[in-house]
Symmetry: C2
């Protein structure tokens, strides 16, 4: 039984608890071990092999590539679906699921490299009244909602497409799926200094709000 | 412990199995009982109450309204997330999750009433290269992929936006989340007569395909 936690992190449980429930020893693989696929496929060639990932499997491109590899080597695979941030974030925030446009990721900017495609995705969605789910980067550490908002304001200052102004309403979520998720809705200039609890965090930029969505954000998100 | 199965159907398990796992008797509520909320909220005012729904809770507007009602009556609620077709469909089909635009639903047409907003949602997504997840109507029975494709071709004939031609590639999924899901990719004129197994079904209209998405559709969906 293998697992990887680099495409996301476990929240609300531990490796030990998982081993207890499954009554199996779990070997955690590194990013390169997952990407090469060798360890998992070698095991799967000789016996029944499980590979645990956080969230719904095959949401990450790496897992899609791995399943294709397995098929081409004649290894039969089966997917057991799981709760994913892709449905839990709309669910927890009360924002209507069918009003979410394309999602995107906010990467950590670095010296001379400041990607902004997520900003344009959010802008396109907003033009059509749609919400945007933004995943936050995971490197040696996980990006917080606060950092993500600063990055958005910086890009807004340059591009000026009216996507992320100081008074824009946004929704920050933390530890979704755990017993104590954080759900805060408000203006960017208020949320930028709020505490969203332990990472992982995600950020939602709402489009047009239906009155029931607005009511939900007020009742549960403190808008 | 209550449950409803009118926003979707159970697949891959039975009510009896659920009762066995939970070691509790489950009362299945009708649509009107869920929408009025009375039965559940009355029970919740006097004791710990569970409400089971298929998929991730709060994806359906009815559940959002119910949680707002509970809050306003001073009843504390907690959401336990679950696998949803919203992430399982991208997962199973190998289509990249972040490339899904807004989703929509195909209703059963009736005498003098033939809604087509889902067609325009698919058209808007397609213009941007994005995929569209289409939920199929649930009335006294559940719509099949085959019926959905016929409806789409009918609308295409009228509107002509080049969304659903005979040779357009589509993906049909059946019984997602069960041990024997159906996943077939192909041209509409081929898929319209194929068997997608027991309902529930969903339909995906892909936008531009990345080479890895195409490979996955070929390896697993028989494209």
């Amino acid at each position: 039984m293998f697992a990887e936690f680099y495409t996301s992190r476990l929240s609300g449980t531990t490796l030990e608890k998982l081993e207890g429930v499954l009554e199996k020893k779990i070997t955690v693989l590194s990013r390169s071990e997952v990407e090469s696929g060798d360890v998992i496929l070698k095991a799967a060639e000789t016996g029944k092999t499980g590979f645990l990932v956080p969230g719904d499997p095959l949401i990450s491109t790496t897992h899609i590539a791995l399943r294709i590899d397995a098929k081409q080597r004649g290894i039969e695979t089966r997917v057991v679906h799981n709760t994913s941030i892709n449905s839990a974030a709309p669910g927890l925030s009360g924002l209507f699921n069918y009003k979410f446009g394309a999602s995107s990721s906010i990467p950590f900017p670095s010296e001379g490299y400041r990607p902004d495609s997520f900003y344009h995705v959010a802008s396109e969605n907003k033009k059509r009244g749609l919400h945007t789910l933004l995943f936050l980067d995971i490197k040696d550490r996980l990006m917080t909602v606060n950092e993500a908002l600063k990055i958005l304001l910086d890009i807004e200052r340059d591009k000026g497409l009216n996507v992320a102004r100081n008074d824009s309403i946004v929704v920050g979520l933390g530890c979704v799926g755990s017993e104590t998720p954080v759900f805060i809705a408000g203006r960017i200039n208020d949320l930028i200094s709020r505490d969203f609890g332990p990472v992982p965090h995600v950020l939602i930029m709402p489009g047009e709000l239906h009155f029931m969505e607005e009511e939900y954000l007020k009742e549960f998100g403190g808008l």
